[in-house]
């Protein structure tokens, strides 16, 4: 019999039972909640008179809708100027209180983007099943956990039953062989992968990311990669547990200690695919082929190397794809064939669950240190992923580096990644963004998003257009 993949192992260890109709009941270890996709689920519980199955398996924080200015945040939930946003954040507070769910409220120093604080606190542990009403829950797969996004009905289902009804996905292995070139980051790797397999390339699969280049990434870098598995259509992305995973988890506030730690660590070391495991699909990329990436269109698969040009839809044989590319160019206001580096920018956003961790901020700060934001950039935001990331960055003086260069240093939250709060692009504005989606209107009505790594975004802020980060001297 062939060996098991990591996904097979995670699935089997959480299988409550196979149901008669071909679906399975899967146990959920940890459920994250935020203000946007949970209110209707709590209301559903109330209407049906149900209680959470295991309140302690849930953790909540408001992130999507929170303001990021110091002025609003200094007054906690009452400081939120937008009345509908305030109602939503208050609803989360009252729902968590009513149902006995622990929450890091908006003014808690540990508050932040749910996918940043889960691993940071050691709530996210290897071998867990984790869900959240947010598609970027795949982030937690970087620690060898099976994690994916769910809708609000499923949020209610997990609250009430601690389970999900699921059909097992297929196994895909994406191997990135060899070593990455200097200046090429986790973000470039995942953008290159999505460009290669397409935005639906992973639909129906759980993707395991492996190979030397993935192993060489830090755990934070692996989070960036797994975060965007959903942009390739895969609900979950995972990376095998190794020394780095164990080291990352050790000593975090909610991580096990003492004898329990030893027991956990022993179990976690088995969280790798067996050598003879069989995958339904295998994709291989050579790390040395990957150069810094920039998205030019309205889907994360529409990426080009920073040294390349905006593609010409006329050269495409597939009609549907040609139409798709033409629609994208029209929305983006770009001419086919122009160099990526000639795209003029209006704003820069460094943040989001993809790239707002301390390593991301360090990488961006190293680029802008001693430099100034270009005159054509109207606004450049740096939004740390959590209160603790923010505190660490300030300890290292990164906030000063950013503000001296002319970038704004904000309070944690999802911010301009989805622009539910006041941090938005104006119509027609181009933005170099470290977030995960370049969909039409994503960062604001008529806004034009270009997805890049933190260092590339920082360099773009300084130059006012994209530059090849490999040619920028770091200070």
């Amino acid at each position: 019999m062939a060996g098991l993949t990591l996904y097979d192992k995670l699935w089997e260890s959480h299988l409550v039972k196979n149901l008669d109709d071909g679906t399975s009941l899967i146990y959920i270890d940890l459920h994250f909640l935020h203000e946007v996709t949970s209110p209707q689920a709590f209301e559903g519980l109330r209407l049906a008179g149900r209680k959470p199955w295991r309140a302690g398996a849930n953790m909540a924080t408001p992130d999507h809708n929170v303001p990021t200015t110091k002025d609003e945040r200094s007054r906690g939930v009452e400081g939120i100027l937008d009345p509908t946003s305030k109602i939503q954040v208050k609803s989360l507070d009252s729902n968590c209180l009513e149902f006995g769910i622990s929450e890091f409220q908006i003014d808690d120093p540990r508050h932040g983007i749910v996918h940043v604080i889960g691993p940071e606190q050691g709530r996210t542990l290897p071998g867990m099943t984790i869900v959240c009403g947010d598609s970027h829950t795949s982030t937690h797969g970087a620690l060898g956990a099976l994690a994916h996004g769910i809708g609000t009905s499923e949020v209610e289902h997990v609250l009430a039953t601690q389970c999900l009804v699921q059909k097992k996905a297929k196994n895909m292995l994406i191997k990135v062989n060899g070593r990455l070139n200097p200046g090429v980051t986790a973000k470039d790797v995942v953008l290159a992968i999505i460009g290669h397999i397409g935005t639906a390339g992973g639909t129906g699969y759980t993707i395991e990311f492996g190979g030397e280049a993935i192993q060489s990434l830090s755990v934070e870098g692996r989070m960036t990669v797994c975060n965007m598995a959903i942009e390739a259509g895969a609900r979950a992305g995972i990376v095998a547990v190794d020394e780095k995973t164990i080291e990352y988890v050790k000593g975090r506030p909610f991580a096990p200690t003492g004898a329990t730690w030893d027991m956990a660590e022993a179990a976690w070391r088995d969280l790798v695919s067996d050598a003879d495991a069989v995958f339904d699909a295998l994709v291989e990329l050579e790390a040395s082929d990957i150069v810094p990436q920039v998205s030019w269109g309205t889907s994360p698969e529409m990426v080009a190397p920073v040294t390349g040009n905006v593609p010409d839809p006329a050269s495409m044989s597939n009609e549907s794809k040609r139409n798709n590319y033409q629609q994208a160019l029209k929305y983006m206001g770009l001419q086919a064939g122009i160099p990526i580096q000639s795209i003029q920018l209006d704003r820069v956003f460094i943040g989001s669950c993809t790239n707002s961790r301390i390593e991301d901020l360090r990488a961006a700060a190293a680029v802008v240190k001693g430099r100034k934001v270009a005159a054509n950039i109207k606004e450049a935001l740096v939004v740390p992923g959590s209160g603790l990331v923010k505190a660490q960055a300030e300890l290292e003086g990164l906030d000063k580096i950013f503000t001296e260069a002319g970038l704004q240093w904000r309070e944690p939250g999802c911010s301009m990644c989805l622009a539910m709060n006041a941090d938005q692009l104006g119509e027609g504005e181009h933005c170099a963004s470290t977030s995960n989606r370049n969909f039409e209107g994503r960062q604001g009505f008529g806004g034009r998003t270009h997805l890049v790594s933190p260092a590339m975004a920082a360099a773009a802020a300084v130059h006012g257009h994209f530059v090849d980060i490999r040619e920028v001297e770091l200070n």
Partner: protein, 216 residues
């Protein structure tokens, strides 16, 4: 939960690949804490020429005449014909809520994103996957014939075109059952309460650290 048995309705052709959930319902409308009222903002950025605001009255907003749904011939549609990878992106269930609230009961496309697919089943919306070639044919028939309708029948898993042609479709037994009977899946899962408890006890013995996350 809402049932789906059959639907005989006008078809809206949305000729666009990779329609994402931001396109279906932009984020500013996600601030609502209700499940209803999203229909007037379905496809908001394509449908109107101005920027949509939550809770705003849409009756006086400038309409985008180029957007297919705004053409008079597509008034009263209940079946959406779409392209590949429909519903990709965010997990927001506001997307199916908006489709449902507008009056869509069924979406036909060559493929759908996974999370969106699940979210639709939970809201009694039938998603039908058909081969590219058949979808293409339906697109051209819809364009050529004003008032083009399809009759979708879930029990027999068939779609009947105005000319009487029958197209068969596949659906997983479990999803069919839930849609036909409008089952509350939380109640269904809770029928396995003892199995869940037994699993939980065993899992706790094996992985005690998952049950004692206290924080320090």
């Amino acid at each position: 939960m809402k049932k789906f048995i059959s639907e005989d309705g006008l078809v809206l052709p949305l000729d666009r690949a990779n329609v994402d959930t931001d396109y279906i319902i932009p984020k500013q409308f996600l601030k609502s804490i209700k499940r209803t009222g999203f229909g007037k903002n379905l496809f908001d950025e394509a449908r109107y020429l101005d920027k949509g605001l939550p809770d705003a009255d849409c009756s006086g907003r400038p309409i985008n005449p180029d957007f297919v749904m705004n053409q008079p011939r597509y008034k009263g549609v209940s079946i959406l014909l779409a392209r590949e990878n429909f519903g990709c992106g965010s997990s927001r269930e506001h997307a199916p809520w908006a489709l449902d609230d507008y009056g869509f009961r069924c979406v036909i496309a060559p493929s759908f994103a996974d999370i969106f697919f699940n979210n639709c089943v939970k809201n009694g919306i039938l998603l039908i996957v058909l081969k590219d070639k058949i979808v293409e044919k339906l697109f051209s028939e819809t364009a050529a014939n004003e008032g083009y309708r399809l009759a979708v029948d879930l029990p027999s898993q068939t779609i009947t075109t105005p000319s009487g042609e029958t197209i068969a479709f596949e659906i997983e037994e479990s999803r069919k059952n839930i849609l036909l009977n409008g089952l509350d899946d939380i109640s269904l899962t809770l029928q396995n309460k003892e199995d869940i408890q037994a699993y939980e006890t065993g899992w706790q013995q094996k992985s005690p650290w998952l049950f004692s996350q206290l924080g320090s």
